[in-house]
């Protein structure tokens, strides 16, 4: 299911994850979010940007348990918990937010 953003076609795998992570832009993120029926707010962007920072540092997309722990350390308990993240990304924060962030599917996502 390729995305068309600003006239460019962006290839994805069969689950909608970007084939070439280096192509990611905020516009592409917005297009993926629209396809996922996620209405991006500042809180959504904060998670997406946090995931991209995590990926830059460790070269993997974190498992949900690891994401919540890392979010808790950086933003506090009110954001570092499952409920907060599932409210933002109902189909799974790790899967849905990673897809919007242009990351691969989380390792250890079974």
């Amino acid at each position: 299911m390729p995305y068309t953003v600003n006239g460019n076609t962006i290839e994805t795998d069969e689950e909608g994850y970007l084939m070439d992570l280096s192509l990611w832009t905020q516009d592409i993120a917005a297009a993926i979010a629209a396809a996922e029926n996620v209405d991006m707010t500042d809180e959504h962007w904060q998670v997406v940007n946090f995931l991209r920072e995590y990926y830059n540092e460790y070269q993997i997309a974190p498992a949900i348990r690891v994401l919540t722990k890392a979010m808790k350390e950086k933003f506090g308990a009110e954001k570092g918990n499952n409920k907060y993240l599932y409210d933002l990304f109902p189909y799974g924060p790790a899967k849905q937010a990673c897809k919007i962030a242009g990351l691969p599917k989380p390792t250890g996502c079974v």
């Binding site: 540092e57 460790y58 070269q59 993997i60 974190p62 498992a63 348990r65 690891v66 722990k69 890392a70 390792t107 250890g108 079974v110």
Partner: protein
């Protein structure tokens, strides 16, 4: 035929050790073991990871595999702490034979002599080598 479920693992914590013996690039072993370690963390088992022989190079600082067309996955070893995997062992003899020391690694490790590592291996329920 037993009616017992094959995977009745509820509440059972087993000791797993992943043993890395090969250089990081050139084969897929190192990356596959690393992914297995990350996946195993989801099951709340007692995980440890050992590096010996050329496996010690997997966590050496300064990987640059661009020209091999491979991704540098060594930063991922630094994510293991976030996955609560904190028992990382390097075999002393392998490390010294390759002119390396504890400061040459991207993660904090316990350096253990071969004899001690073999004792640790004997204590495991499951050993997975690559």
């Amino acid at each position: 035929m037993s009616e017992e479920p094959v995977f009745d693992t509820q509440g059972v914590v087993r000791k797993f050790m992943f043993v890395n013996r090969k250089a990081p690039y050139g084969t897929i072993y190192a990356l596959e073991i690393l992914e297995s370690v990350l996946i195993s963390a989801a099951f709340e088992q007692d995980i440890s990871v050992a590096f010996l022989d050329d496996g010690v190079f997997q966590i050496k600082k300064g990987h640059d595999p661009k020209d091999l067309g491979m991704k540098n996955f060594s930063p991922t070893y630094r994510a293991l702490g976030g996955y609560d995997i904190e028992k990382l062992y390097v075999e002393k003899e392998s490390m010294e034979a390759r002119g390396l020391g504890p400061d040459d690694f991207v993660v904090k490790v316990q350096v253990v002599p071969a004899a001690e590592l073999s004792k640790l291996m004997a204590e495991q329920d499951v050993l997975i080598t690559g």
